[in-house]
């Protein structure tokens, strides 16, 4: 069944926030019955909305491609929640393919996530990539490790039918404040903007200084030259 051809709306884009990543926990003596003996961790990889809202109105399915050593490494999740729980002992790159609903007539969105099982010994949350939250102070054995990324799926120039679907609900809403369940919020966004603005300010200052230095150098040379 080929999706009906619909005209794209030029110069318009619609974005939807998503978060993806994984949580992992060390298994104790209690193991799932079918887990191999060498597996030490229980992990879950997921693609979902920041507030766990419904994303199935534009995402049809998500395919996770695991390491080749897993039986049936290509796991297709056809219905929400788009998540997969497995056991394992090692970290590897998981290929995530997001398929969109037929009306969208869009290609597959393809990206990677590095599975994280172990907390880094010296995690400094601000400088490390993405945001890994390790709740400190607890026994390392029962700490839940998580590696979660925020991103936005941008539909540039969606077709009209899909545009209607996207416009049917406010899908880009973020909570205004950080909460335990969802750190990605307007507050965090503003904090980050402020941080970048400070960076821009610093860079601007340095550019200004260098410019003046260069101009004075040129002037000096002009004087020396004449």
């Amino acid at each position: 069944m080929a999706p009906p051809v619909s005209k794209r709306i030029k110069t318009l884009s619609v974005s939807r926030p998503i978060i993806y990543g994984n949580t992992a926990k060390k298994m104790g003596s209690v193991k799932p019955p079918n887990a191999p003996a060498e597996h030490t961790h229980l992990w879950t990889i997921f693609v979902r909305g920041p507030q766990n809202e419904d994303v199935s109105y534009f995402i049809k399915k998500v395919v996770f491609k695991l390491h080749d050593t897993y039986p049936n490494p290509v796991r297709s999740i056809e219905a929400p929640p788009f998540e997969l729980t497995e056991t394992g002992w090692g970290e590897f790159d998981i290929n995530i393919k997001v398929y969109f609903v037929d009306e969208a007539n869009e290609k597959v969105l393809n990206f990677y996530h590095r599975l994280r099982l172990h907390p880094y010994a010296n995690t400094t949350p601000n400088t490390s990539n993405g945001s890994e939250q390790n709740t400190p102070g607890r026994n390392a054995n029962d700490v839940e490790v998580s590696s979660i990324y925020f991103d936005e799926i941008v539909f540039n120039e969606p077709n009209e039918e899909f545009f209607k679907i996207l416009m049917s609900r406010p899908g880009n809403v973020l909570p205004s404040n950080k909460t335990e369940s969802c750190v990605y919020s307007k507050q965090l966004e503003q904090e980050e903007i402020d941080r970048i603005d400070i960076g821009i300010e610093k860079v601007d200052r340095e550019i200004h200084e260098l410019k003046q230095k260069l101009e004075s150098l040129i002037k000096q040379e002009a004087i020396n030259g004449n």
């Binding site: 619609v14 974005s15 969105l109 490390s128 941008v154 970048i196 821009i200």
Partner: protein, 475 residues
């Protein structure tokens, strides 16, 4: 590897083996060797490589050694005869031909025609005084001035300038005798006064000039008889100094020359770089709004500035390869469009200025199209205010971006590896992550601006460093 090996590899049977493996048929090989010219050395190797079926090649027979003296002809007779070297001396030399042929009479040497003498002017005392006075008046006036300037030197000069006529005749005689070979003249000069070589020369040329001014005033070579003793002395001093340099001094001088050339090159390069840098600083920032370019007038203005920019850039970087296929296609398309336009023009009589190029018009068209498209998009969103739009995550960017879906974070600018590392280092210095924690639309926009500024900063820093380095060298 000879041809036979190659034939072996290719599994070709040879009719007759070359002599290298010619055990099988002595007969044929001998026949071959008889048919072939006798070749040796490199040429034989060449024959081996060429094989049997080579086209006829002209071979220079014979060895590389000099041919033996085979001539049996009689040696021609040479005879030792007298000749006249000049009027007074007769010498003997070897001449080809028998004695009978040449005869007993001593002949002039064949080289006697090269024995030429200069014609030095000669004059009597009366003539000398007349032409010296005639032209001397002007000189006298000039001398007067000089004398006023240098009264102190007068006494010394007087002695020097005081040439009796006899001495002048003596000088001219010597000149004639030695054909103006000045070093000889100076060496043989033995008159009462002690004169320097420069004095002699100056006097001689001075008199000659006066002489010819009278006898042949329109001679264009007259001005070449100008000789200044002072300059000659100075020149010799310079030469003396130049020749008396030590090896170390010469080496130092050469090193300095090399160094100065380096400086010149570096200066040229820095000048070019600075020019480009100033252009970079002067050019307007690209993060300005584009609204002013959305009208057709603004569009054409933008086009013009871009066009001039392009020519400037191309001058700067002349080796941008051009895709010939694309060019041809473009030309073809333009041609077709032109034809269509020609038809239209006759109907509509377009009022647009003829200067506008095809491309300009095209760009205006696309701009208009995009405008209508964005107008359509705006119209779709007319019911939503900005907050609602934000909630829906919908934006009308009004730009030409490729349609399709992507993750926002993947659209962050990346740079060349070396530059990227520098940018990452600066980001770390600013304690910012290389990837924003929350790559939302606004944050990515800010991040892009930051990246652009960091790029400018790095560029600027590079130039300032280079500039300072250049200055430290020139100091």
């Amino acid at each position: 590897m000879s041809s036979s090996d190659i034939f072996d590899v290719l599994n070709i049977k040879q009719k007759s083996k070359s002599p290298t493996n010619g055990h099988t048929s002595v007969l044929s090989s001998s026949a071959v060797s008889r048919a072939k010219p006798q070749v040796t050395g490199m040429q034989r190797e060449l024959f081996n490589l060429l094989g049997e079926n080579q086209p006829p090649v002209v071979i220079q027979s014979g060895s590389n050694f000099k041919e033996k003296m085979l001539s049996t002809s009689k040696p021609s007779p040479w005879s030792f005869v007298e000749f006249k070297a000049n009027r007074f001396v007769t010498l003997r030399h070897w001449v080809k031909g028998s004695k009978e042929l040449i005869g007993d009479e001593p002949k002039e040497s064949a080289y006697s025609k090269f024995n030429q003498h200069l014609s030095i002017p000669s004059f009597t005392k009366e003539e000398y005084e007349s032409f010296m006075n005639e032209t001397g008046n002007q000189d006298f006036l000039e001398n007067e001035k000089n004398l006023n300037d240098s009264h102190a030197n007068e006494r010394v000069d007087e002695n020097k300038n005081n040439w009796p006529f006899e001495e002048i005749i003596y000088l001219f005689k010597l000149c004639e005798k030695y054909d103006l070979r000045w070093f000889l003249i100076f060496d043989r000069y033995n008159y009462n006064e002690s004169r320097t070589l420069e004095d002699l020369k100056e006097k001689f040329y001075h008199i000659c000039r006066n002489y010819f001014k009278v006898s042949n005033p329109s001679n264009p070579l007259l001005s070449s008889l100008n000789f200044s003793a002072e300059k000659e002395v100075e020149r010799k001093k310079y030469l003396q100094r130049l020749l008396s340099r030590s090896a170390a001094e010469i080496a130092e001088e050469e090193a300095l020359i090399v160094e100065s050339k380096k400086f010149e090159m570096a200066a040229k390069r820095t000048l070019a770089e600075r020019e480009s840098l100033l252009r970079l600083l002067d050019s307007p920032h690209s993060d300005q709004t584009i609204t002013q370019y959305l009208t057709s007038q603004g569009m054409s203005q933008l086009y013009n500035t871009l066009l001039t920019d392009k020519t400037r850039k191309r001058k700067h970087d002349p080796n941008i390869p051009e895709n010939p296929w694309m060019k041809q296609q473009q030309q073809f398309a333009q041609h077709r469009q032109l034809q269509q336009m020609g038809v239209k023009k006759s109907d509509v009589k377009e009022s647009s200025s003829p200067k506008k190029t095809k491309r300009q018009r095209q760009e205006i068209q696309t701009a208009l199209k995009r405008k209508s498209e964005s107008a359509y998009a705006e119209q779709l969103l007319r019911d939503f205010n900005s907050d609602e739009r934000k909630a829906l995550g919908v934006i009308t960017h009004g730009e030409k971006l490729s349609p399709g879906v992507y993750l926002r974070s993947t659209k962050l600018s990346t740079f060349k590896p070396a530059l990227q590392n520098k940018i990452l280092a600066i980001l770390q210095e600013l304690s910012l992550p290389s990837r924003p924690v929350m790559p939302s639309h606004d944050i990515v926009e800010r991040q892009e601006e930051l990246l652009k500024k960091i790029n400018t900063l790095i560029d600027l820093k590079k130039h300032v460093d280079k500039y300072e380095f250049g200055r430290s060298i020139t100091k």
